[in-house]
């Protein structure tokens, strides 16, 4: 990555539920190929931030640019077209419960590609194998554990080889080994496919291991207080809230 090209730009954004302002004056850039961490304490609006980025919730104020295109200023069709290039892993997996895992992963492929059923079957097999779930094709979401649902959700998010992948709390509820494997998978996908990763998390181990860029949402100030590489932030920050967050409040 020699030069950095902005992939998603957030300008002057305000998030609100009705007249309750959650966060204001958010401005940051997610570059192509970044592993971008959205971090902050519970209830700071990390997940809400993500719902705005993926087009589920309208921001109260401000703009989100995908490349040069104003995402929320565009019409529904443009938004659909942009978001089709993104994959989303939801907090609980959000697999469609009436379909098997194979059907879950196949649906985006059936909808947006001209692959034959045989080819789709192969892609499904590969994606499930990538998240360590080979052989689970014919299971229904209710028949597997929460951690597995999460991983299958990642497999579905990756189905179309998206340009950008969003993860909502990917390692919450996973055992340490699976969480580590997930981090490796994220790194590997970035390396091999150049996918931009946007990760909502407060898992410190992951933040330092894979994050190349980040934004910290400070719940007490209702705005962002820092952006940059998390390791660098830890070394340089003088903000007590951020330092406390990055060190689990332990005194150094």
């Amino acid at each position: 990555m020699t030069e950095k090209e902005a992939h998603i730009t957030v300008q002057d954004l305000t998030m609100a539920y009705g007249d309750f302002v959650l966060m204001r004056d958010l401005t940051f850039t997610i570059n192509r190929g970044d592993i971008f961490i959205i971090m902050g304490g519970s209830g700071c609006g990390k997940s809400t931030m993500m719902t705005i980025l993926i087009g589920l919730k309208t921001p109260a104020k401000g703009r989100v640019l995908y490349g040069e295109v104003d995402f929320w200023g565009a019409d529904q069709q443009t938004r659909d077209r942009i978001i089709r290039r993104a994959g989303v892993m939801y907090q609980s997996g959000a697999l469609w419960s009436s379909m098997t895992l194979a059907e879950n992963i196949a649906l985006p492929l059936e909808t947006y590609t001209d692959l034959s059923p045989g080819q789709i079957r192969e892609v499904v097999k590969l994606k499930l194998a990538l998240v360590g779930m080979a052989g689970f094709e014919e299971f229904y979401p209710s028949e597997i554990s929460g951690g597995m649902q999460k991983r299958a959700g990642i497999a579905r998010a990756m189905a179309l080889d998206p340009e950008v992948l969003f993860f909502d709390e990917p390692s919450a509820g996973l055992d340490p080994v699976s969480a580590r494997r997930l981090d490796d998978l994220i790194l590997e996908l970035r390396e091999s496919l150049g996918t931009t990763m946007v990760i909502v998390t407060h898992e410190l181990a992951s933040i330092f291991a894979i994050g190349s860029n980040s934004v910290f949402l400070d719940v007490s100030k209702r705005t962002m207080t820092a952006t940059g590489n998390p390791n660098q932030l830890l070394a340089e920050t003088r903000d007590p809230n951020l330092r406390q967050f990055l060190t689990r409040g332990e005194k150094s």
Binding site: D80, A86, Y90, S92, A94, L95, W96, L107, T111, R156
Partner: protein, 377 residues
């Protein structure tokens, strides 16, 4: 041996109040409250320090801690220094933990009491908003149907098949039972009146026309509202809670086409067929009374029924069935899609779907009846 929690207040100097705690300070027992300390303080404005003596304290739990928290609030209000040194070490540490994060005061609170006028205003605004939402949903559904007619709608054929099975074949037992009994009841009520004139044979006309033109469709509609409308709302509501609908949207797949359309289609196709079946069951119910109790011959009853039911009656009944099917599907899907993100919201959605569907069925029955009357059919 457990002793009751007791408190003695002493004042060793003019600016210090000593709280001596003894016995068991455990929840469930009768413990002295912080108001006792407050009463004591009221007469003495000079007190600046509050100290504790807990040497006689035998055991404690949350009961002591809540007392201390209340005392803490009281002290900070009256600007009195609360000295925790005399407390048991465990209680000191827990208090420190509880006070580590300051109380959040700017978080959004549940709305307090509102005046009657404000409540009325809010409800009115809400009514208009929900009417708008309903129209918008119906509009979206029409667009989805148009896309279906142009062959562009995205849905899974296998889903449609499963839903069709669930709303038709699996509903047959309950529809059979209810419509058979309704036919029977109608025949009984009619028989008593008609026997007075020796006109028992007209029971066949009465049951036939009532069932075919109206009752079969209404009874099936209400059964389906409870059975299928509620199920649709619960299914879609749970999908909303699980973010499954979000997952569809972010894939650019319209939930309207993928989820609502097959449900609407299934009920629109299956309801007239169910009505037809319900007609037969209703007439059978009437026949049991006619043949068994009124001694009308089987063929006689059949011929009288066939003569009474015109094609128009049958058509109106089946058309009503179609309308009710669409109403039940729309009400169920709409409430499901509007569902909030909690378990109780799913329950509310199912309840509201059934109510909406039944209201819709009754209102549209009235409209159809008036229209038929005006057209003279």
């Amino acid at each position: 041996m457990t002793a009751r929690g007791e408190m003695i207040l002493e004042q060793p100097s003019a600016d210090t109040l000593k709280v001596i705690l003894s016995g068991d300070w455990k929840l469930g027992g009768e413990l002295p409250g912080a108001d006792k300390v407050q009463q004591r303080l009221e007469g003495r404005p000079g007190v600046r320090n509050l100290v504790f003596d807990t040497r006689e304290l035998t055991s404690w739990d949350t009961g002591l801690l809540t007392f201390l928290m209340n005392l803490g609030t009281l002290c900070s209000r009256q600007k009195i220094l609360l000295n925790r040194d005399g407390l048991p070490p465990g209680a000191q540490r827990l208090l420190e933990l509880a006070l580590a994060v300051p109380e959040k005061t700017d978080a959004r609170q549940a709305e307090g009491r509102v005046s009657f006028l404000a409540y009325l205003g809010n409800q009115t605004v809400e009514l208009f908003r929900s009417a708008g939402e309903m129209l918008e949903f119906i509009g979206d559904a029409v667009i989805a149907v148009l896309r279906l007619l142009r062959g562009k709608a995205q849905y899974r054929r296998s889903d449609l098949g499963l839903i069709m099975q669930a709303v038709s074949a699996q509903a047959l037992p309950i529809v059979s039972l209810i419509c058979f009994l309704v036919g029977l009841i109608l025949a009984f009520i009619g028989a008593i009146q008609l026997q007075l004139f020796g006109a028992q044979i007209y029971v066949a006309d009465l049951v036939g026309i009532a069932m075919v033109r109206l009752m079969a469709a209404i009874m099936t509609g209400i059964v389906m509202a409870g059975r299928t409308g509620g199920a649709f709302a619960a299914q879609l509501g749970t999908m909303q809670v699980n973010q499954e609908i979000d997952a569809l949207k972010t894939l650019g797949i319209s939930p309207m086409e993928f989820l609502v359309l097959p449900r609407m289609l299934a009920l629109a196709v299956m309801m007239p067929l169910l009505c037809l079946y319900a007609n037969i069951m209703g007439i059978l119910g009437g026949m049991v009374v006619g043949v068994g109790m009124l001694n009308i011959g089987f063929m006689e009853y059949y011929n009288e029924t066939a003569k009474a039911i015109g094609l128009w009656n049958l058509g109106i009944g089946l058309f009503s069935g179609l309308v009710f099917g669409v109403i039940v599907a729309l009400a169920g899907c709409m409430r499901g899609m509007q569902c909030g993100r909690s378990a109780s919201a799913v329950g509310d959605a199912a309840t509201s779907a059934v109510v909406t569907a039944i209201v819709g069925i009754i209102v549209s029955t009235a409209v159809i009846t008036v229209l038929c009357n005006m057209l003279g059919i």
